[in-house]
Assembly symmetry: C2
Homo-oligomer: 118 residues x 2
């Protein structure tokens, strides 16, 4: 059953979005790349939990990461397919329904850590 194209497995993508923590991460990354410590700070979750979800998102090709010294920066993968664009619109629309998503963004902005590893 082939559902993969250009490194994008539709079923896996939807599965990735079916977890609140991953949804929060993706939503935060819409504002630009972030390092793991930023995410841990805003999400207020154990480091292993955040790291596990990031690994999941990496495997699903929804995010990419780059390493700079001690920090790993994560960013949204470029949305090339029409499908990927629609997925991003879904995440945006989720903000209307899940107040926490907007709260996260505000929490990031007011976070003193947001420039700790700039």
């Amino acid at each position: 059953m082939k559902t993969k194209t250009q490194n994008l497995d539709i079923e896996k993508v939807f599965r990735a979005l079916s977890d609140l923590t991953r949804l929060r991460i993706l939503n935060l990354l819409r504002g630009g790349e972030l390092c793991v410590c930023d995410l841990i700070d805003v999400l207020d979750l154990p480091q292993s939990t955040v790291s596990r979800h990031l690994a999941y998102l990496r495997k699903t090709n929804l995010v990419t990461s780059r390493k700079e010294g001690l920090w790993h920066y994560y960013q949204l993968a470029p949305a090339e397919l029409k499908f990927s664009k629609k997925i991003m619109e879904c995440i945006e629309a989720s903000c209307d329904v899940i107040p926490l998503l907007d709260k996260d963004v505000q929490s990031l902005q007011s976070s003193s850590c947001s420039d700790c590893c700039g």
Copy 2:
């Protein structure tokens, strides 16, 4: 962690879409309501499997059903929220990536069962 609004649990919705069989069902329903026997026919899956997935979609409020004699007709739930509309656009976009989805629609059209319970 509140993620529910107007009977729509975002996480559950994405989880519902993360299964190929359910994606196929939703895509078929985009063409209008269908009875279970139509779906079994096109999907070529055991009755219990199809029925279980339909139950899942019902619980997620993605579909509704009506009963007419011996037949149960399923239809897409009306997309009231912006989020729901975007979800439908995602399913549509999935057709570009999963050839089976278009094949299903054709298979339905040429199916002799497609008017067995009209």
